[in-house]
Symmetry: C2
């Protein structure tokens, strides 16, 4: 009887252990899936290491640099940082197909774009963008622009989000334009897209239904100093990490790095003419006037501890469609 009772308890314990093992097995499997390389398209090196170290420092509760989840804000430029911007910004092509006559300067283009789009119901603009994206093709790859996103940056976006980061696009491009596809292409919802933004006007259609119309008045020029100003307007706190590729991102990176604790600032250098494009003019690369990465910016990056990502050396795989 004593033995039997002991055995009973032993077997109960064994049963409990089996159940626990089963649970641990499931958890272990999930853990193993989570510990697979989160950045498979990044080559080993300073850029990849910098990302991994930063995320560890800011998300490990035992780290002195720990940042509470709500404050984990990461901002990304789009053109040249998340997708291809050469030989001309995709949005510029969209606008050029919509404005009459020849355009030679950027100021002229912006003025014409504002006039052409002014008075257009926002919904009409959106469906226009959607339709254009579905049919327009990049001249080099003959693919939709939305397929020409950088796989390493897509992995970085997901990796940061998996660690409690809220990812934002902060682009000089049009806010209404980018919001049309950002959720589908980058997993970034409209409210996390900050861009150059025009005013809208609230009104009613003939049936009395309210709708918004695009106005020619520019509220935010989200380039250069406009980036931290736009971040303040739309987010209201300083990012912990910021990513860009040109002089237009300088102030955003400065502003991000000026906060206390661990900060990550990175710039993509397009030095890969074979797989994409090579342009600077930093390091003697050609000056294409689109997305300029000047020598001055390169010097500031070194001085401030910003990490320069070499497309050629740091990225193993470039596009999602690459094998």
């Amino acid at each position: 009887m004593t033995l039997s009772r002991r055995r009973r308890w032993f077997l109960l314990l064994l049963g409990g252990l089996l159940a626990a093992t089963l649970l641990a097995g499931v958890a272990g499997w999930a853990g193993a899936a989570g510990s697979a390389d989160p950045l498979p398209s990044w080559n080993p090196g300073a850029a990849r290491d910098g990302i991994l170290r930063f995320v560890r420092q800011t998300t490990d509760p035992a780290s002195p640099g720990f940042v509470p989840p709500g404050e984990r804000i990461a901002t990304f430029d789009q053109d040249g940082t998340l997708w291809v911007e050469q030989p001309v910004y995709p949005q510029v092509r969209f606008i050029l197909e919509r404005v009459p006559g020849a355009v030679t300067t950027r100021g002229e283009l912006e003025r014409l774009a504002a006039t052409a789009l002014s008075g257009m119901p926002l919904e009409t603009f959106r469906s226009d963008v959607r339709q254009w994206l579905a049919t327009a093709r990049h001249p080099r790859w003959q693919r939709p622009y939305t397929e020409l996103t950088y796989q390493p940056m897509q992995e970085l976006l997901r990796y940061l989000r998996a660690h409690g980061y809220k990812t934002y696009i902060v682009t000089g491009g049009g806010q209404d334009f980018v919001r049309v596809y950002a959720e589908q292409v980058y997993g970034i919802p409209p409210e996390q897209v900050i861009g150059s933004a025009g005013a809208t006007r609230y009104g009613y259609d003939s049936a009395g239904r309210p709708f918004l119309t695009k106005e020619p008045r520019l509220l935010l020029n989200d380039n250069d100093a406009g980036k931290p100003e736009g971040i303040q307007l739309m987010i209201g706190r300083r990012p912990i990490a910021a990513f860009g590729n040109s002089t237009g991102d300088r102030q955003m990176l400065e502003y991000t790095k000026a906060g206390d604790g661990p900060r990550l600032a990175m710039l993509v250098l397009h030095d890969d003419a074979r797989r994409e494009y090579a342009y600077g003019p930093a390091l003697g690369l050609p000056d294409t006037r689109v997305g300029r990465f000047t020598q001055e910016l390169h010097d500031e990056a070194r001085r401030q501890g910003w990490i320069v990502i070499s497309m050629k050396n740091d990225w193993r795989r470039l596009f999602p469609f690459d094998r």
Copy 2:
């Protein structure tokens, strides 16, 4: 031996069942906690029923009105909707203590406020607001303004968030002002506070550190038609639910209700002079010129199916400090 093996299996099974029961017990306890009344400060009635029905319709995957979590946007006016706005908006008191001389009109106040605050570093403004909030007292309750929030609305905010809603403040008040306390007081982070917003200017201090300064240029007057315009600027999609209390919220509610599928639009009517204040001028209530709820607005609410919340009848408990 056969019996012994059977017994062993039986006991193993029993052990497993015990473990399963333990787990189910934990889950059941969590479930019971979740099913407690989420709106204890609301009296039974059309307002409370309307909220519960709307949340069921939009969050039950089997419902034809189901809304995916990312699209569950709820916008709340602040003054008079989330906290007390009488006898004068708290922010107006803050400004009046900072501008010299007597102010008699609202336009004059806004002009003086812009001048007084212009050129002020954003961080200085923020610590000013923090300090004022810590010391200022409401003349009637002799309590900090941040304690004078409506308990039923606090419950509603939490209830919506527990069902996947992203809650926003959309206020005619100053965006920089409200962001200072919204996270602590309402659980709403700065990036989900939209308000009347001035421009900032990016610059450097004498040590070369970047900082932002408040500028006198108004980017968004977040009242009336400015509310849907501000929602478009900052969120980029239409809310599913909107809450207000005055004519300044009319367009936000119209815009919200004009979308497809189930929509919730509610207006707080201050008809409780004993516990708070009674003002309209709708339904013959006094016209205090602060947070006006006109008869025209009341008529539109009825026509459009907006729910009017009677503070007197629908709210059992008013403030968090009430017993």
